[in-house]
């Protein structure tokens, strides 16, 4: 029995299914092929006009037929594709998932097309104010829109579709949300509350206002030509992130439960670490302490030491500040050895999938272990002398990788690190 528990006596958490969709394609195979070929999914935006915008590129997912094209519907579609792939791989029933659902979803809000529907339903030709929209809403049947723009609806529909158990949790920790969805699943299994958890991160929120908000905060790259060259994490000429869309799902399972039913084990979530930062709403503490502590806690939670980590799947957004802070923090955690620990950023190819990023990058981290190949950081033409790291520049590399740390950092002082391993750590 002991081999199914970690050193703290907690159930070991195995991964038995994974699914992913990004601008690079649908499913693990297509994504991995593109990712290890160094191919970018970032392109010119054609979902809406970009006239007057400083940034005109993104890693949107354009190959789905989504109607209406609003963030919650696209996010739900992306999550469904990823979860279907993950549960299919796990061998569990596709409509009767034996555990809880944790889903990181972009905050939901009413969008412009729907606001315009109500404006058109008002009696007024001009001078529209919210009381007119309210009167229009009162006079018609907009129940579908009400449900569409509730925060809990995406998770509710996913729970219906996959038959997850209990009260589904919709969560946000900004750009570390996907990692938090995994952490919540790990904690629930460790508590013995559930034998399995479906953890999902999804984000299909590239619309004009979302892009403009990040643009007004000067967070986005404006190097639009060529689009695939804009995201250049750790490069000296990096100038911001590129918005991306996608989703990933992981079937997490009590190791004992997975073995008992003969499931194929894809890897383990060995450790989770997190740390808040009260320094600023969008900027990190200059000393990097919160990121450092998050990484140290993840490694300690896994019962490992920094020397045990073979590869770091970076947050690596391509913003001047994140990459500098992350690099400095990694050097503080790993010491001199950091010069030779490979660290690469998937965001160089898929952009920043925001709410989904932590889950998407968890899947790629586990695939790195399984395939023995590290995806590169592309667009690395001008190294930043302040970042003396092995960023696996431009070309994928074969390597034996058994333990990966994946970082996720977000607005609002959110810092989450996860450690994935090939073998259980007991």
């Amino acid at each position: 029995m002991a081999k199914f528990r970690d050193r703290a006596g907690r159930p070991i958490v195995a991964v038995t299914g994974m699914g992913v969709v990004t601008s690079l394609g649908r499913g693990k195979t297509d994504n991995w092929t593109a990712l290890t070929a160094g191919r970018s999914g970032i392109h010119r935006i054609n979902r809406f006009p970009t006239d007057g915008l400083r940034t005109t590129i993104a890693g949107t997912v354009d190959f789905l037929d989504v109607n209406p094209m609003v963030a919650p519907v696209l996010s739900e579609n992306l999550a469904t594709i990823a979860a279907d792939e993950a549960i299919g791989q796990s061998g569990l029933a596709r409509d009767d998932f034996p555990g809880a659902l944790f889903v990181a979803v972009p905050p939901v809000e009413m969008e412009w097309p729907q606001r315009r529907i109500l404006a058109d339903a008002t009696a007024k030709a001009e001078g529209i104010v919210y009381s007119d929209l309210l009167a229009a809403a009162a006079g018609g049947d907009y129940r579908k829109l009400h449900d569409l723009f509730l925060f809990g609806t995406v998770a509710d529909r996913l729970a219906d579709r996959f038959g997850t158990k209990g009260s589904p949790i919709s969560l946000s920790t900004a750009c570390s949300s996907g990692a938090t969805a995994i952490q919540l699943g790990v904690e629930a299994i460790r508590r013995g509350e559930t034998r399995a958890a479906l953890s999902i991160g999804t984000d299909g929120s590239v619309h004009a206002e979302a892009l403009i908000r990040f643009s007004l905060l000067s967070a986005l790259s404006t190097q639009n030509d060529p689009p695939e060259g804009a995201a250049k994490p750790f490069s000296k000429n990096r100038d911001g992130f590129v918005m991306g869309e996608g989703a990933a799902a992981l079937v997490l399972e009590d190791y004992e439960h997975a073995v008992a039913r003969g499931a194929t084990i894809l890897g383990f979530v060995a450790g989770c670490g997190e740390k808040g930062d009260g320094f600023h709403r969008t900027r990190s503490s200059p000393d990097g302490r919160p990121a450092i502590v998050a990484m140290q806690e993840a490694i300690a939670d896994a019962g490992l030491s920094p020397d045990d980590i073979d590869y770091i799947n970076a947050h690596g957004t391509s913003t001047p500040e994140n990459d500098k802070m992350e690099s400095m923090s990694c050097m503080a955690v790993f010491g001199e050895r950091m010069a030779t620990v490979p660290i690469s950023s998937n965001k160089s190819m898929i952009g920043h999938t925001l709410t989904a990023a932590g889950a998407v990058e968890a899947v790629f981290s586990l695939m790195t272990i399984a395939e023995g190949r590290i995806p590169p950081t592309i667009n690395h033409a001008i190294p930043d002398p302040a970042i003396p790291l092995d960023v696996v520049p431009n070309v994928a590399r074969d390597a034996r990788v058994t333990r990966v740390m994946s970082n996720s950092f977000g607005f609002g002082g959110q810092n989450t690190s996860l450690v994935f391993t090939a073998e259980p750590v007991s």
């Binding site: 009413m110 009260s167 904690e187 007004l216 930062d277 009260g278």
Partner: protein, 379 residues
């Protein structure tokens, strides 16, 4: 796994239309006051407006106040009250380890900008290009930070120095249920020693009224008690409110000499098909699983939505014998994500005051999600 630990409530911070702090809310449990309802500001809709707050008392820097919208200020203020009450305010070492779970929706829009854009888009030859131009020039860059769901937690970190780590749950009423449930479960299992959990809701916003009016879920007559609205179709009266609780492992609280208001038993949360008796059955099951007694004092989070509120009342009436039922909506209105944490806070005050030996808090979300908490005397 080791034995589960007892979880106690050592800090309570409340803000609502009734006032702020413990006393005014405890008094309301003894003798339900005339509710404070504003029927004019958003006519034909009523709201319970929050009392004016002296923000400087909990948010000392004006620059912080300016960076937030009202829903965030309410929450940061209430979180500060909870820390004061728990004796943790300014305790840098403990605040650096204190975890946080916040139940949140999203932030206010710029109503004037929205109206002008809707007007202009009608006349524009290329409405979407017009939209780009106006948003680029008219949106305040920092408004985004007042809208993001997780930035209530972010602001609490900044203002009060809580830097353990935060998680934000979304999903209307059930976000509040799950926030309290997960916080209690993590502490009980030893995954955390102390967590501040709660939510904040600003009802005085036409954009949130709009979401609910699209579903025809709002009560549009004068104030009527929650359980008496069915005859006229039902609906809820939104209320501005915020509630934060400091939850701690009982041994940890005792070791630092903290006073426990009450003990919080494991919280129940469900998502049931409500037709054909499903809701009634789920409520009864949660009641039994929580070990609630027949003399419990019930603080119902019922919305006033006709069918589900009647079902809840009928079920609760059958479960209790000597206990009484009070709708928190009659006191503070419906504060969506904050309603369940608020109910748990009131339950703790009631039990501590001797109003009842145990109190049960229910939540039946206006669209989905059911929850139940049981609060008993500490130690």
């Amino acid at each position: 796994m080791s034995e589960l630990r007892d979880v106690v409530i050592t800090g309570i911070g409340l803000v609502s239309s009734l006032g702020e702090g413990h006393d005014v809310h405890l008094a309301a449990l003894h003798d339900a006051p005339r509710p404070h309802v504003d029927a004019a500001a958003f006519a034909p809709y009523c709201v319970h407006p929050v009392v004016p707050l002296e923000l400087d008392r909990q948010i000392p820097k004006k620059s912080d106040q300016r960076q937030m919208e009202p829903w965030q200020r309410l929450g940061v203020y209430a979180a500060g009250l909870a820390l004061d009450d728990a004796g943790l305010k300014g305790d840098a070492e403990r605040l650096d380890r204190l975890q946080m779970i916040v139940a949140a929706g999203g932030g206010e829009r710029d109503y004037a900008v929205d109206g002008q854009i809707l007007d202009g888009m009608r006349k524009a030859a290329q409405p979407e290009v017009f939209l780009n131009e106006r948003l680029m020039s008219d949106l305040r860059p920092t408004l985004f930070l007042a809208q993001l769901s997780n930035l209530l937690a972010g602001n609490i970190s900044i203002v009060h120095g809580i830097t353990g780590a935060s998680r934000t749950f979304m999903g209307e009423e059930q976000a509040g249920v799950d926030a309290v449930r997960v916080a209690q479960a993590r502490i009980a299992a030893g995954q955390a020693d102390a967590i501040i959990v709660g939510g904040a809701y600003n009802a005085e916003r036409p954009d949130v009224l709009l979401i609910f009016e699209m579903g025809h879920t709002l009560w549009k007559h004068g104030f009527t008690p929650v359980f008496e609205r069915s005859a006229e179709g039902g609906g809820f009266i939104p209320g501005s409110a915020a509630a934060f609780l400091v939850l701690e492992a009982a041994d940890v609280a005792q070791a630092r000499g903290a006073r426990a208001h009450a003990r919080l038993a494991p919280v129940r949360a469900e998502r049931c098909p409500r037709e054909d008796g499903g809701l009634e059955k789920t409520l009864a099951t949660m009641w039994a699983d929580a070990g609630a007694g027949r003399d419990a004092f019930v603080l119902s989070g019922a919305t006033g939505m006709a069918r589900i509120t009647a079902s809840e009342r009928e079920t609760l009436d059958a479960l209790i014998v000597t206990g009484s039922i009070m709708a928190t909506g009659d006191l503070i209105g419906h504060s969506v994500e904050a309603q369940f944490p608020f109910g748990v806070a009131l339950a703790a005050l009631a039990v501590e005051d001797g109003l009842a030996d145990e109190a049960v808090v229910t939540s039946v979300g206006h669209q989905r999600g059911e929850g139940l908490a049981r609060v008993v005397k500490a130690g």
